[in-house]
């Protein structure tokens, strides 16, 4: 944990320019007008004895200098085709049946499946540019069309949950320092599916309403190499530290023909909040082909949707229409 902070302080004494091509967070800056960006990305972590992976592709287009649109899609082995059997359980007390949420077994092998797609739009509304510096602010909105049997409460667009997101990005960049703050929200939509009946009866209709979330992410970045820009063929090395925070409310679960409320008891479906830290490194070849890698660890609290460390990969380039 201390290492990335130490590296940052060492770099404060250098005379390099900041970098805002953050591996995980979008900066307030946009895709150049008319340019098409293509990004392939992946996420991987070990859950018990197997690896959970997500692969995605993102197309980015600069509609105007201030307005960019992104379309993404992903596949993963994060979910089963239906909700896990143990998600709801019941006990008997006399002739009363008491329903509650149950614990889910971790490390169960699921098939790879298409999660869905996501549309994201970003508009830059503040631009204060100077030589080798800028301050910019942008607003973003997104809709994730995902319909998977996500069995945890934390909403994650494009991967786990259908729903809306939006927020504000502020990016400040001055010679030695690049920083960006993203504050936003996620309003997930419910998943409607079936739970297998443990006694061999018909599958039980189930509705899972995920908690709404606030997100707060902070990204810091530095250019390590080259010391002096000479031409576009110099390989750029950038290092980053990104803090990813999320705070979300408790889930609601309904079951049966009458959609009766099931009391939430498992931690996976309770309200939660956490901050993760992702040190990252990036290399840019020929000023266009960008390769990112970062590794995530818990800093405050913990996320229930993945195990640690989380490995994130990305490869991206822009195509300029002629």
């Amino acid at each position: 944990m201390r290492l990335p902070i130490t590296i940052l302080f060492v770099l404060l004494s250098s005379t390099m320019h900041g970098q805002e091509l953050f591996p995980l967070n979008e900066p307030a800056s946009n895709v150049p007008k008319g340019a098409l960006g293509v990004r392939a990305f992946g996420e991987s972590y070990k859950e018990v004895s197997l690896y959970r992976n997500l692969f995605g592709i993102k197309l980015m287009y600069g509609v105007t200098p201030k307005l960019s649109i992104y379309l993404s899609a992903s596949v993963s082995n994060h979910h089963n085709s239906e909700l896990p059997e143990g998600l709801a359980t019941h006990t008997h007390s006399g002739n009363q049946t008491i329903y509650s949420t149950g614990n889910i077994t971790r490390g169960v092998r699921y098939p790879y499946q298409f999660n869905g797609d996501d549309a994201y739009i970003k508009y830059r509304f503040v631009t204060v540019d100077g030589q080798n510096r800028h301050f910019r602010m942008a607003a973003y909105g997104e809709f994730s069309n995902v319909n998977v049997a996500h069995d945890e409460n934390e909403p994650t667009l494009l991967d786990d949950t259908k729903g809306y997101g939006g927020g504000i990005i502020s990016t400040y960049l001055v010679k030695h320092f690049a920083a960006s703050l993203t504050t936003g929200f996620i309003i997930p939509m419910a998943y409607k599916g079936y739970l297998p009946d443990p006694y061999g009866g018909a599958d039980v209709p189930t509705k899972l309403v995920y908690g709404q979330a606030f997100v707060y992410n902070l990204s810091l970045g530095y250019l390590l190499l080259p010391h002096h820009y000479k031409n576009y063929n110099q390989t750029n090395w950038n290092i980053y530290v990104e803090l990813m925070g999320k705070s979300y409310g408790e889930a609601k679960m309904y079951q049966g023909a009458d959609m009766a409320s099931v009391p939430i008891q498992t931690p996976l479906l309770k309200a939660g909040n956490y901050v993760e830290i992702y040190p990252g490194v990036q290399c840019i070849l020929k000023s266009n082909l960008r390769l990112d890698m970062s590794v995530g660890f818990p800093m405050v609290g913990t996320s229930y949707v993945h195990f640690y460390p989380v490995y994130m990969f990305g490869i991206q380039r822009y195509f300029y229409a002629q």
């Binding site: 320019h17 900041g18 970098q19 805002e20 091509l21 800056s29 946009n30 895709v31 150049p32 007008k33 008319g34 340019a35 600069g62 200098p65 830059r124 631009t127 540019d129 100077g130 030589q131 080798n132 510096r133 800028h134 910019r136 960049l173 690049a178 250019l223 002096h228 820009y229 000479k230 031409n231 576009y232 110099q234 750029n236 840019i284 000023s287 266009n288 960008r290 822009y318 300029y320 229409a321 002629q322």
Partner: protein, 166 residues
């Protein structure tokens, strides 16, 4: 306008040309961003070559022979790439032209008006600085606004230019 001046302007218009533009770009911090600016400028039909100086975040733009140079389109290309113009200077060829403040000349159907320029005779390649919205930082623009009063003919685009004291 007397016939002499008319002939003079005509002969000037035939010989004057913008040979090179140097553009300072604000907000640039990475080589990928610099490349985006270059790619946008290169798309302009009259541009022959662009050389970006990443260290000083500025670019030099060279033109196709005989092509009509549209300076505002170069500035717009910088904005389209997502950045701002810090300053825009052009190397222009003159042949014994006596200029002073509010002196106007037409070239390629655009009007160029000198402002805040002491009386002098220009001969050979002279660096002129473009003045106006989109050609300079906002605080710099405010200083110039009182002098930006067009006295040129209404046809074509009007550009304000000045010659910085050397």
């Amino acid at each position: 306008m007397s016939m002499t001046v008319f002939i003079f302007l005509y002969s000037f218009a035939a010989k004057a040309q913008i040979t090179e533009v140097q553009i300072g770009v604000d907000g640039l911090t990475c080589s990928q961003c610099s490349r985006s600016v270059e790619m946008r400028i290169r798309k302009l039909s009259f541009v022959k070559d662009v050389k970006m100086n990443l260290e000083h975040t500025e670019g030099k733009v060279y033109f196709k022979s005989g092509a009509k140079v549209e300076v505002d389109k170069i500035a717009q290309a910088v904005v389209d790439a997502g950045f701002s113009v810090r300053d825009l200077k052009a190397a222009m060829l003159f042949k014994n032209v006596a200029v002073s403040s509010n002196y106007c000349f037409a070239h390629d159907n655009n009007n160029y008006q000198f402002i805040q320029t002491p009386g002098q005779t220009l001969n050979g390649a002279v660096t002129v600085t473009f003045v106006g919205k989109g050609f300079m930082e906002k605080k710099e623009l405010k200083k110039w606004q009182p002098y930006m009063k067009s006295t040129c003919a209404a046809n074509g685009k009007n550009y304000f230019v000045t010659i910085e004291k050397s």
